[in-house]
C-alpha cells in the first residue's frame, strides 16, 4: 500500500477528454481584469445550499473523488465564505434562506465569482412560481456564471469549471 506514494493507479479522467467536450453549455458573463489576474492557479470554492434537493450537492461532492479529482486543477473546497473566492449556489433559494444567502455573499471578500449550479438555481427549475421560493439565485445576489442541468453531472460541472478557469487564464495571458 505504501508504494502508492510513488505510483498511483490511473483511475482518473484525463484533462484532455474534459477540454475536448464540445457540448458544454453554460451561460456566463465577462470577468473583470483583476479577478483574472488574482485567481490564476488557485481557486477556493464555498458551496451554499439555498434550499436545494441535495441532488446538486451530491454531484458537487463527487467532484472531489478519485475519478474527477478537482484538486489537481488548483481548486479546493473551503469551510467558510471568508476563505472563499467562488460561491457555488444550489437550490431555488427558499424564502428562509434568502437572508442567509445574502449574508454569505456579503461575508465573502472581494473579488468573488458567483456560480449558480443547476436549473433550480438559475430560474427556479421545477419549483418555479411556487410561493415558497425566490425563483433563482439572480433575484437575491448577482450571478456571474450559470451551469444548467437538473442536476448537472459532475463531468459537466467540471468542464464548466475548467472553461471558467480558461476564461480567467486566457484573458490573463492576452493582456
Amino acid at each position: 500500500m505504501y508504494s502508492k506514494i510513488f505510483s498511483t493507479p490511473k483511475t482518473i479522467i484525463e484533462p484532455e477528454k474534459l477540454y475536448s467536450e464540445k457540448d458544454v453549455e453554460f451561460i456566463g458573463t465577462k470577468l473583470s481584469e483583476e479577478i483574472r489576474k488574482i485567481f490564476k492557479g488557485s481557486l477556493a470554492i464555498r458551496e451554499v445550499d439555498a434550499g436545494s434537493t441535495n441532488a446538486c450537492e451530491q454531484e458537487l461532492t463527487a467532484l472531489g473523488n478519485s475519478f474527477y479529482d478537482v484538486e489537481r486543477f488548483g481548486v479546493h473546497f473551503v469551510a467558510s465564505p471568508r476563505h472563499a473566492d467562488m460561491l457555488m449556489v444550489t437550490g431555488p433559494v427558499s424564502r428562509n434562506m434568502a437572508a442567509a444567502l445574502k449574508k454569505t455573499y456579503e461575508a465573502t471578500p472581494e473579488p468573488k465569482i458567483v456560480v449558480a449550479v443547476g436549473d433550480d438555481a438559475i430560474d427556479g427549475g421545477i419549483f418555479k412560481g411556487s410561493y415558497a421560493v425566490m425563483d433563482g439565485v439572480e433575484k437575491v445576489i448577482p450571478v456571474d456564471f450559470k451551469i444548467p442541468g437538473d442536476p448537472p453531472s459532475p463531468k459537466r460541472i467540471l468542464c464548466a469549471l475548467l472553461q471558467i478557469l480558461k476564461i480567467i487564464d486566457k484573458n490573463n495571458s492576452k493582456s
Binding site: F77, H83, P109
Partner: protein
Amino acid sequence: MNIALLIIQSLLIPAFSPLIVGVIRKIKAKFQNRQGASVFQPYRDLMKLFNKDEVISENASWIFRYTPYFLFALTVAISFGVPTISTDASLSYLGDFLVFVYLIAFGAFFLALSGLDTSSAFGGMGSSREMTVAALTEGGFIFSLFSVSLLTGKSDFPNMIGALSSMPVSDIIAPVLIAFIAFYIVLLAECARYPFDNPATHLELTMIHEAMILEYSGKRLALIEWAAANKLLIFISLAANIFFPWQVANTSEVVPVIVSLLLFAVKVFVLSASVAVLESTIAKLRFFRLPDLLMTSLVLGMISIVLTII
C-alpha cells in the same frame, strides 16, 4: 558565526514550509488514488490570498487585526534558533528549549484570543479546545526535550545537537528513541494533525485549529496559514535534527554544509511522509480521548529520563 549562513538557514524554514505542506497533501491524495494538487499549490494559494480584499467582523478588536503579524514574526524568530543545516550558524539564546516551548505557547495564546475576539460560536469553541490541548501537551513537550538535555548536559539546540552527535550510539539509542516518540506525539498535537485535529475538515464541531481562523480572510489569512506551515516545518526539522543529529554540520565550510543540507532534506521528507501516511491510515480521536494520548507522551518522556541514568 557566518551571518550569511545564519540568514540562509533560518529563512529556509519560511521559504520551504508551504512546500512541505504541499508534499503532505500530495501524499495524502496519492493514498486516496487521486492525483491531487501540485506540491507548489500552497504557494499559489498564498499569493492569491495576499491579493484579495478582506472582510473583518464588526466585533473584532486590535487583537484580531495584529495577531497574524505577531504570529508570523514569532515563527520566523523561532526559526532563527533552529539549526537546520549547521549548528555553527544559529542563535543559541533563541534555541534554549524552554524559550522554544513557551514561545510556541505564546503563539497559541494569541491565536486563541483572536478566535474569541469575533464573538463567533465556532471561534470560542476552537479556542477552548486549543488551550486544553496546549495545556496538556506541555508536559510531554518539556520532558522529551529535557531528556536530551540531560543526556548531553546542554540546554540549547545547537549545543545539544553537537554534543549528541559525538556520543556513542549504543549508549544513547534507547532514551533518544523513546524521547523521539514522545516528541512526535507533541508534534502532531501542536501542528493540528491527526489524530488530534483534521486540517482539511469542514465540520466545525471537529475543528480545533481551523475553528479559530474561520473569521480570517485575505492577507491575514495568508499570514496565519503561512505561520502554521512554518510551525510544522520547525517541529519537523527539530525532530529530524535533535533526535538524529549525525552529520549536522558544526562549521560553516562548504562541503559539510552541503552534505548536511542534503541529509536534512531527506530526513524532513521522510518525516513529512510519515505524517501524511499517519493521516491517511488512522482515524481522528474523539476529543475526550486526547488526554490519554498526551499523558502517554508524558510517561514516555519520563521513561526516557529514567533511561538516561541507567
